[in-house]
């Protein structure tokens, strides 16, 4: 039931003072078309109705604060509460983006430092904090690629992307005006040097890669690929979705990447997925600095300032300076973890994924052999064929046991894929519980498959009609319905 359905005509939660005109008469000030004539149909509820409505919604919500959330490729790590404390300090929380530089030196210093920390973590020379999320960062990166070749008077149309990539990669490349060429991963789940070599020609502007890739495997040919790409004048783009596997171990800049994006809401513990806006900073090597969106934060002898002096800038990617509240949280996280802490986080993320892999491999065999990085991609063996229990059913059954299922049916190249990313913040007890639940479900699938197929049984709503929701989406409430 929505808040609109609870509306009763005449109910109010707050009494406004008597209406005064303040000398403003809409009829004479605004032109006809801006004056609303019909009712806005806002819900009419008492304060208590409203409080109960949202408290009850919060009760049926599920988040990483409620329980295990092993959504692959999303890095749903715990967001430490100290991040929230720092972001709510009034010196940050009460800023306005139009304030004078002189009055926001603290905020600018934070942004300047964050740019530098992210540069150091990734091995890049310059960072923009502007993009609002990962895919927005990708688009920023691809527009930089485009402008770079324009500035050299070179026309290059193609972007190479492996078949294991996130779907946003080809979408971003196409949005920036490139043609996408898909490259096949090999039988070990990685992109071989030879495949890249054969696909390269003078029309290839960039190669977009994720490392470790979406199968959780390290692209071991990366240095050779970077070399041959650069010999061809091609730029190498790094999708930072999986940075959580490698912090303090190896840096994209050292692997040979020219442009990267990060997801602060994945790797740097800021709220994620409807929990708040994202942030997708983009990093570049110094040769590409002049193409970054303006402004970046810089400093001179006297103060920190917004630097608009980038001669080939692609322009602005977002109003003002990015999602500042998110930047504060990432900054707090980096400082509270320190160098050693970030490295340890990546080590534990990888250890946790391999712990799950080793314990589940008999029933959820790995799609590809070898030690995985921060996530484990497997499939449910012969369950789909012999018992008609698909990955989707297993995922829904997990809801009955009170945990969030992992990512399913991605990457696309793995049939009936389950993609499990526990992250470093989960304890051995939580991982063991997940392993036990998974084993139990697989057992159920063999002895009583229907209970798994018909799941979920214990959730607030039963199985949703995803097909109908996609075919005939209803995204707006209206009174007649």
């Amino acid at each position: 039931m929505t808040i609109f359905d609870k509306s009763v005509e005449g109910k109010i939660a707050f009494s406004l003072p008597e209406e005064k005109s303040y000398g403003f008469d809409p009829e004479s000030t605004l032109s006809e078309k801006y004056i609303k004539k019909s009712s806005t149909d806002l819900p009419e509820c008492s304060e208590l109705d409203i409080v109960r409505h949202y408290s009850n919604l919060a009760k049926i919500n599920y988040s990483v604060d409620h329980g295990f959330y092993p959504l692959g490729s999303c890095t749903m790590k715990y967001n430490p509460k100290i991040n929230e404390n720092v972001a709510s300090l009034s010196g940050f929380a009460n800023l306005h983006p139009l304030m004078e530089e002189d009055d926001i030196q603290g905020a600018l210093e934070l942004m300047f430092d964050l740019q530098n920390y992210l540069s150091k973590i990734t091995g890049m020379d310059e960072i923009t904090l502007q993009p609002a999320a990962g895919a927005h960062g990708e688009l920023t990166g691809m527009l930089i690629v485009k402008k770079y070749f324009q500035s050299k008077n070179e026309k290059r149309k193609k972007v190479l992307i492996p078949d294991s990539a996130h779907g946003t990669n080809p979408a971003s490349a196409i949005m920036a005006g490139f043609d996408v060429v898909e490259l096949k991963s090999d039988e070990n789940g990685i992109l071989p040097f030879e495949t890249v070599k054969n696909a390269l020609d003078k029309d290839v502007a960039a190669i977009m890669m994720t490392n470790p890739n979406t199968l959780g495997l390290f692209e071991k040919d990366i240095v050779k690929i970077a070399r041959i790409a650069h010999e061809n004048g091609t730029l190498l783009y790094y999708d930072g979705a999986n940075l959580n596997a490698i912090m303090g171990k190896i840096r994209p800049g050292d692997m040979g990447f020219d442009i990267i994006h990060l997801n602060l809401h994945k790797t740097f513990s800021t709220p994620h997925g409807m929990g708040g806006p994202g942030s997708g900073p983009v990093g570049v090597k110094k040769e590409l600095r002049e193409f970054l969106p303006v402004p970046i934060v810089n400093r001179n002898d006297e103060k920190f300032y917004f630097d608009y002096d980038l001669k080939n800038s692609i322009g602005k990617m977002r109003s003002y300076y990015g999602n500042f509240g998110v930047l504060i949280r990432a900054y707090a996280y980096i400082l509270s973890m320190g160098n050693d802490g970030l490295k340890k986080a990546s080590e534990l993320a990888v250890l946790n994924a391999n712990y799950i892999k080793c314990n589940l491999r008999e029933i959820i065999p790995p799609a590809f052999e070898g030690v995985c990085k921060h996530e484990y991609v497997g499939y449910p063996g012969n369950l789909p064929k012999e018992y008609n229990v698909k990955t989707l059913n297993i995922a829904k059954r997990m809801l009955d046991y009170g945990i969030h299922p992992p990512t399913i049916y991605f990457p696309l190249i793995v049939h009936e894929a389950l993609m499990i990313e526990p992250t470093e913040t989960e304890s051995k007890e939580t991982l063991d519980n997940f392993i036990e639940i998974t084993k139990k479900i697989v057992q159920e699938a063999k002895t009583d498959p229907q209970i798994v197929i018909d799941s979920p049984h214990n959730t607030y709503v039963r199985k949703l009609d995803e097909a109908k929701a996609s075919r005939k989406p209803k995204v707006r409430w209206n009174k007649s319905s």
Partner: protein
């Protein structure tokens, strides 16, 4: 008799026209179809070329032209009722008809038995 491709399209021939859709097996793998992006009528296609997309709750998949020729008609019913592809893939859920340039290309397509061996049915 329908013929098949390794990429899970079926083809039946009516005179000059090849009627094309995706197979029951393809549908069983895709999950519920929620949207079909059809090719343009009059579009020239080469055998093996990707010419339209089928989106399901799981993923988006390309459909490849099983023969070369010109697209003469598309199944417009799918615009409002993409579920026909899930419900009746090898009949009401047909996708498009191609006027063939080289009718002999049909000979290269798979017989039902050979196709079933690929899918393991």
């Amino acid at each position: 008799m329908a013929k098949y491709t390794k990429t899970h399209e079926w083809v039946t021939v009516e005179g000059e026209l090849a009627i094309v859709g995706i197979t029951k097996y393809a549908v069983s793998q895709l999950g519920e179809v929620v949207f079909v992006e059809l090719p343009e009528e009059g579009q020239e296609v080469e055998k093996g070329e990707s010419i339209c997309n089928v989106e399901s709750t799981k993923s988006a998949s390309e459909v490849f032209a099983p023969v070369s020729g010109i697209v003469r008609s598309v199944n417009e019913e799918l615009e409002d009722s993409p579920e026909l592809v899930s419900e009746d893939p090898e009949n009401k859920g047909w996708l498009f008809k191609i006027e063939m340039n080289r009718q002999e290309e049909v000979e290269d397509l798979l017989e039902e038995k050979a196709y079933n061996e690929i899918t393991g049915d």
